[in-house]
Symmetry: C2
Subunit: 275 residues, 2 copies
């Protein structure tokens, strides 16, 4: 089989490295709309060969690792792939992408969301082992073809991932809380400090807490613009819950209700039972 | 010289381990109001010996590594230490503690804030090397005695720290943004998810972003209650800036101004030039 990867950044490039370790692919080819990125990906050995988009259509397995709006455009161009072709999208929001898929292509399609990544992006961010021992969420898997479901399981288990199945609506709602909200918070925290006149002096004092809390604020603005666009309603819902929670803390602090604040923080400590 | 540590948790216990590597102390003794913690600290070898509080008064160097309200109580009990005694507080907010110091003891006192730690607490959280290659902020150092200033520099440089001097007002204002705000955000993020009916299912999906953003929500509620109490005004100020920044993002999302949202995130990316 031949695998093709559209988008050779952090996720796509790392997928190239992961697929190379499987014995099932004769070759792994890549396409990137950015010629520099394609060249970088080849130099880094993320894929075996760079190809034109037309050649991607001939692949047995096609991974889409691009921003969500571009994903919808590319899916429209994949019309006419063969019955046994598998198209896997690695995007971070599912409902809109799935709604965009032409009915006749739906069985070809696997909606996969690997719960891993880093704040870096582009081919140079690609990492061997990025997917290993991480979770991947398959959404609305029952709508994928039987052949594609079996192949997807083989590949994702093969690269070391644990599969969780979730309907696309629950995916988007839960992921808004567990991933999209933390990102928007991190961007806001970074901007809070960067907006300060004395930011250089303040940032010279950084300890581990701020470092961890601000790490994902370095993530790709284009990728995240599309995620927030695709999952707007659930992100707004998650933001409202968070803002209310933060307002509770602010009120307790304002009213100097320190015992209540301590109880509120103690409740947060329960997270250690889960994560 | 003999060193005494009051409070044998993460910071005090790690200080014991760090001081043991210096040749300047004949012995390092420890006191903890919690008898179990004292026993654990001894079992873990964090200090050479456990002592009564009265014996701490005889030490040449006294480290205070306890919650800020307890710190003020203990400082009052340290009245009468000798001229060359050095008392170092390791607390995370400075103005109120410094204001509480009796004038006749002010030269004995060094206000030090090591910018390091973990989310864990208690003696079992103590780590060898916690302080190495980290920053320590000395506040209002000019009010400390010449002897104490020289000794503090020797000790903190000796355990591998980089010293930054900052007046206590600037310390509290900057640290509200860079440390206290991230903690209150992390507690609020944890509570946002923990308040969900389907929290188990949601938390099964956790990736690296949420993991990092929620890590410090596991921190000690008692310690943080006191920090927030001591630095209430600046924390409220920092919260207001952050809440406005987050409201900007919410507004853009609500109004579907995705290009503006992308610019806002791109601005946050500038953090990579500093951290």
């Amino acid at each position: 089989m031949q695998a093709g990867i559209v988008g050779l950044g952090l996720m796509g490039g790392s997928m190239g490295l992961a697929l190379k370790e499987l014995s099932m692919f004769k070759s792994i080819v890549g396409y990137d709309i950015n010629a520099l990125h394609l060249q970088q990906a080849l130099n880094l050995g993320l894929v075996d060969e760079g190809v034109d988009f037309e050649e991607i259509l001939q692949c047995d397995v096609i991974f889409l690792a691009i921003p969500l709006e571009a994903m919808i455009e590319v899916i429209a161009k994949l019309k006419g792939v063969s019955k046994h072709c598998m198209i896997v999208d690695l995007g971070g929001a599912k409902q809109k992408v799935l709604a965009s898929i032409p009915k006749e292509m739906r069985k070809n399609f696997i909606a996969a969301h690997p719960m891993c990544g880093t704040e870096f992006y582009g081919p140079k961010a690609a990492l061997k082992g990025l997917y290993r021992n991480k979770i991947v969420i398959f959404s609305d898997l029952e709508n994928s073809g039987e052949f594609q479901r079996a192949l997807a399981k083989e590949i994702f288990i093969g690269i070391g991932m644990q599969i969780i199945k979730l309907d696309s609506k629950s995916h988007d709602r839960h992921i808004a809380l567990i991933s999209h909200l933390p990102h928007i918070i991190s961007f806001a925290l970074a901007n809070t400090v960067l907006s300060q006149e004395k930011k250089e002096m303040i940032l010279a004092l950084v300890g581990g807490g701020f470092r961890d809390m601000s790490r994902i604020s370095k993530s790709s603005p284009i990728m995240w613009r599309d995620v927030f666009k695709h999952n707007r309603d659930y992100v707004l819902e998650a933001l409202e819950i968070f803002e209310n929670e933060l307002a509770k803390a602010r009120e307790m602090l304002y009213k100097e209700e320190y015992e209540a604040l301590e109880v509120w923080m103690g409740y947060a400590n329960q997270l250690q039972n889960f994560v």
